[in-house]
Symmetry: C2
Subunit: 201 residues, 2 copies
DNA sequence: TATAATTTAGTACGATGTACTAATATTGTC
DNA sequence: GACAATATTAGTACATCGTACTAAATTATA
């Protein structure tokens, strides 16, 4: 494994433990047994660590979406996808929680709005297909709201989780938020879809 | 106005502009034309500034809830309340955005879970009354989800707003999120309730 | 007015992110 | 295999940060 990757892994580890701002670059270097100068060679600014972590997170997400699009559409498979996305976000929580404060710095370099737009078009496509296979039933207004809801939810749930439910473990947290998502889908699910949702409620 | 209040106002101002971490204590002191030592007399740690701001925010919120409870229950009045709560949060956004990263430090001193529990019991009470006056119609499961939704929404919307909609002004942002809330209420609104929601959709 | 308490300014200290230089490893080329 | 070029590493210096500390100034109290 390259030094760059080792740095990223350790940084995420420490960010997850104590947050980005409580973790110093010297601490990262020390626990990797490399010099601070070496670290700043690979990542000139601490923010660059965050950007790299977020990119890696994004790539994992893309792969998960691609895998979903590879198979047959279905509410069951889609909820499985969401659950895996939540797990991925959970393991990158240390990177997320720094994002808001750093938007002033990395806003220009890491345009979340582009990612956001891609996600929304994915969602549109997915929901349409789920209506096609008879799992969901909705009008245009419902769909627009559902897209808003999921986009909002996927952006924010980890922050609420870390503030209000930090005492729960990963499994409990994810099951809580999957129930939350399933409840929303229940509003536009057909009878067939309702049966799939049962597993998460 | 006391020095303490002047510090809080200026700090919130600067936090809103550039975020908590980009704003140094020396910068706050300089723009108030006081010494750093004076600032650290009133607020020993930078985190104490954040705590004080969040407390002030909480007190404003409490007063808004109290004013609502003082009058007649109604979906229209409740949505007005939510809209005002959003404005209050917006004006304290600089304090919020530091919260996640600081939970390790201030978690013990500022227990968000207590606030959360109070909010949830308020919500329960409000929703029950709204059903009583015939604006809403829901079962227990709907109600539990609605409480989850609003609690989640009120915690997180400002973060999404600052990342994805920072280019919009305050009025646009609030109208966007009020539409979002109204859409959710539409799921459990009676015909009478629907008419009230029209204003926000 | 004398004394105590509060508030202020000024400064010093350790830690932080980062820039910079020199040394060492690695790679590619003849 | 020798040598030049590049990439990687270590070490250190510097400005800035949050904060602690002391002494002066102001305000309140008797």
């Amino acid at each position: 494994m390259s030094t760059r990757e080792r740095i990223l892994d350790k940084a995420l580890d420490l960010f997850n433990q104590s947050g980005m701002y409580k973790t110093g670059v010297r601490e990262i270097a020390r626990s990797l047994e490399i010099s601070p100068g070496n670290l700043s060679y690979h990542f000139a600014r601490k923010e660059d660590l965050l950007i790299a972590l977020l990119e890696r997170y994004g790539e994992t997400n893309d792969a998960l979406y691609a895998a979903y699009f590879d198979g047959e559409p279905g509410l069951g498979r889609y909820l499985e996808l969401i659950s895996t996305l939540l797990e991925n976000a959970y393991s990158h929580r240390g990177a997320f929680l720094g994002l808001d404060e750093l938007r002033a710095v990395i806003g220009a370099e890491y345009d979340y709005r582009v990612v956001e737009e891609k996600r929304r078009s994915f969602l549109d496509h997915i929901l349409t297909k789920l209506e096609g296979v008879g799992d969901l039933n909705f009008d245009e207004m419902d769909k627009a709201f559902m897209i808003d809801f999921i986009a909002f939810f996927q952006r924010c749930w980890i922050m609420e989780a870390m503030i209000s439910y930090a005492h729960l473990d990963k499994t409990q947290i994810i099951s809580r938020y999957m129930r939350f998502v399933a409840m929303q889908f229940a509003q536009i699910a057909t009878l067939k879809g309702q049966r799939v949702l049962g597993r998460w409620l």
